[in-house]
Amino acid sequence: MISLSGVSKSHGGRRVLDDVSLSIARGSFVALVGQSGAGKTTLLKAINRLVEIDAGTISVDGVEIKEQPVTALRHRIGYVFQGIGLFPHMTVGQNVWLVPRLMAMPTAQRAERIAELLALVALPPDLIDRFPAQLSGGQAQRVGFARALAASPSIMLMDEPFGALDPVTRSELGGAYRALHERMGLTSLLVTHDMAEALLLADRVIVLGEGRVLADQTPHELIRYRGDPRITAMIDAARLSASRLEALAKGG
């Protein structure tokens, strides 16, 4: 469970987050949507303190995040990065085992656990000794997911995790993660600027604009939403390309 109360953050004289209050239930899959500069990545980073907030409080599982050591907090929260960010000088296995290593977990189960994690993200086990430069983009981000999951976190934060991937890989990996979310009972928070992706993957979509929550609804409610023109524009754009594709399929 994650809760934010009155969270504000300014950067360079601009309010990036403006009095945001939210509560995210255990086991839910929440997408944070919005245009560039809406504050969605800042909000995500505030939760594991990659960004320190100016005002308000954030707590994870009932404990305020400032009350605990930052490294311990981050070990408990899985994080998937937009830039993937695999360590280029470490093998796939070393990348995946990184957080357990930082937590000084016993190495007895190392090989078994890495194999299990690679299987979880549908990667062949023989990739274990490869270096990141020898992987495709999709393979690299699957390793990124395996690395985030290695210490069995209950919460996953994902910052545009599919942003660097081609459309086919993107939807394939999105679907695969959704299945993992169910299977492992994770609490997932996904930042994306792609409304269609948010509507299709999440149980709940929070739309941010200029640092404020503009809408907070289920995909089913949101797709029928009429109100704030900024939101309807995003939904209409997603619907428009879907109906064009449909028309093309029928007409073809």
Partner: protein, 517 residues
């Protein structure tokens, strides 16, 4: 090997050179790397810090080395600790400061140059600052950091040749003494050895660097093993090269930077080795440094000139005759610095203005008075320190000397300047063999503005407390007449059939033995 560089001498100098350079680079790494890491993480402090380190780099190498000498003297005086101000310590400190820039600059660039996505991942996964440094920043930055160390190593090995000037043996000994005696074989040997050493160390570090970047343990290991072998080689004991059993205490013999001084230092060395002492030479000391080094006990014995001591050490401007000056010097140096003036060697090496005989006759110049009358359109060439010495100020004001141009040279090049017509008058040395060989005339000093420059043997207070050492050196007093010193100097300075200062010293010893028979 050819003219006078023996393999054993080369090996000894190369050892000292390698040891000094590698120690300096090691210290620069130990200091520079933490500084670079700190600066990379504190962007605001980084810029002024790099600027400061860059300023160190712009100080000329010779000056940087020379500056640590007075600094350490002051420190020794202030703390009362026996800090050696000459030799290894100041050379090490100066070279370490010098090597900082490439190490700090590359260190900062290495850490700041890490892919931001990777840096963010390190933070986001919960690495502490130390873990991030150890697991990410250092391994990823290693090739750039190592490139900085390579640059520093090559610079340091080159600059270490200047350590000679503050009394630390290095391959620069060959270069400096070779330049003074115009022994180009010696200069070239010193240069080539330093270059070869730089290339060798660079290649070893390149192997380590490529080992790190392509993750080859073999290359990394080979590079490191070769570096360790080099370090071990630099401290390995060498055969003494003197032949005799050497058991007595170590006596350090100083010499200033010209041929006569090298020859006399070697003559002293021959005597002391015959007396069973172990010896070490510090050639190429600056004129002022030599006396202060003796007073501080960094060297034990050297030859200086009475007029120089009179004017520069005691600050006197009068010019009394020898029979007054020598007893006064003996008394005052003992009182001031516990320095023992053993006695005059028997010849004088005075500053003397010299001209080509034909030109002097054509202009009707025989004395400094004549020169003052005719000199305003003539060009003066002097050695590097003469124009800053009190003797020059005395001569200039007494005779009202004026010249069209004044330029300074190292002594050998000063004679060349006169020979090739780019100077008309030089500040020659009266014991110099080149005066006769080049058919020069020295100008008279009717007003007695220039003091006497009797060559005198000086010992430090510490050395003079050893009666056996005094007894070994005392017999040298009064044994070198001016003609013999000129002949010995000419052997070393001439172009044809050139001899080394060592040969000249042997010749002086043998001539004296013949005279005694």
């Amino acid at each position: 090997m050819g003219s006078g560089v023996t393999w054993i001498e080369l090996a000894r100098l190369a050892q000292a050179h390698v040891f000094l350079s590698l120690c300096a680079v090691l210290i620069a790494v130990l200091v520079g790397l933490p500084v670079a890491i700190w600066a990379a993480h504190h962007r605001r402090a980084g810029a002024p810090l790099l600027a400061l380190v860059s300023i160190f780099q712009t100080v000329p190498g010779v000056a940087m080395l020379a500056l640590f000498y007075p600094l350490l003297l002051l420190l020794a005086r202030a703390t009362g600790l026996p800090i050696p101000a000459l030799g290894f310590l100041p050379a090490l400190m100066a070279l370490s400061v010098y090597a900082l820039l490439p190490i700090v600059r590359n260190g900062v660039a290495a850490i700041r140059g890490i892919d931001p996505a990777v840096a963010e991942a390190a933070d986001g996964l919960g690495m502490s600052g130390w873990q991030k440094l150890k697991l990410v920043e250092l391994p990823l930055g290693a090739p750039v950091i190592l490139a900085g160390i390579r640059t520093a190593a090559v610079w340091t090995i080159g600059t270490a040749t200047l350590a000679t000037t503050i009394g630390q043996p290095s391959l620069g000994d060959l270069i400096f003494s070779g330049l003074q005696t115009e022994d180009w074989h010696r200069v070239l040997t010193g240069c080539l050895a330093a270059v070869a050493l730089a290339i060798l160390v660079d290649a070893m570090l390149a192997l380590v660097e490529s080992g790190l970047s392509v993750r080859s343990r073999w290359r990394l290991g080979a590079g490191l093993a070769m570096l360790c072998a080099l370090i071990a080689g630099s401290v390995a004991p060498l055969p003494d090269g003197t032949g005799g059993a050497q058991s007595g205490r170590l006596i350090v013999i100083g010499a200033k930077n010209f041929s006569e001084q090298y020859t006399l230092a070697q003559l002293i060395e021959l005597r002391l080795r015959e007396a069973g002492y172990r010896t070490e030479r510090r050639d190429d000391l600056g004129s002022a440094i030599a006396y202060r080094a003796l007073a501080a006990g960094d060297i034990d014995v050297y030859v200086d000139y009475s007029g120089t001591l009179w004017a520069n050490v005691l600050g006197r401007t009068d010019t009394p005759p020898s029979d007054i000056m020598l007893p006064a010097l003996t008394r005052e140096l003992a009182q001031r610095d516990q320095v023992r003036l053993v006695g005059p060697l028997g010849f004088e090496n005075a500053y003397a203005f010299a001209m080509k005989r034909a030109q002097a006759q054509a202009l009707g110049i025989a004395t400094l008075t004549d020169l003052a009358r005719a000199g305003s359109h003539l060009r003066l060439a002097t050695d590097i320190e003469f124009l800053n010495r009190p003797e020059w100020r005395a001569v200039e004001s007494r005779y009202r000397l004026a010249f069209a141009q004044k330029r300074t040279f190292s002594p050998s090049f000063m004679y060349r300047a006169l020979a090739d017509g780019s100077a008309d008058v030089i500040s020659a040395f009266s014991s110099d063999g080149r005066i006769a060989a080049m058919d020069l005339v020295t100008l008279g000093d009717p007003l007695g503005a220039l003091p006497r420059y009797d060559a005198v043997l000086l010992m430090s207070g510490k050395a003079a407390a050893d009666p056996r050492l005094v007894a070994a050196l005392q017999p040298m007093v009064g044994t070198i007449p001016i003609d013999r010193m000129r002949a010995a100097n000419w052997m070393v300075d001439r172009d044809k059939d050139k001899r080394t200062p060592h040969d000249a010293a042997l010749w002086l010893r043998d001539e004296r033995a013949k005279a005694n028979e």
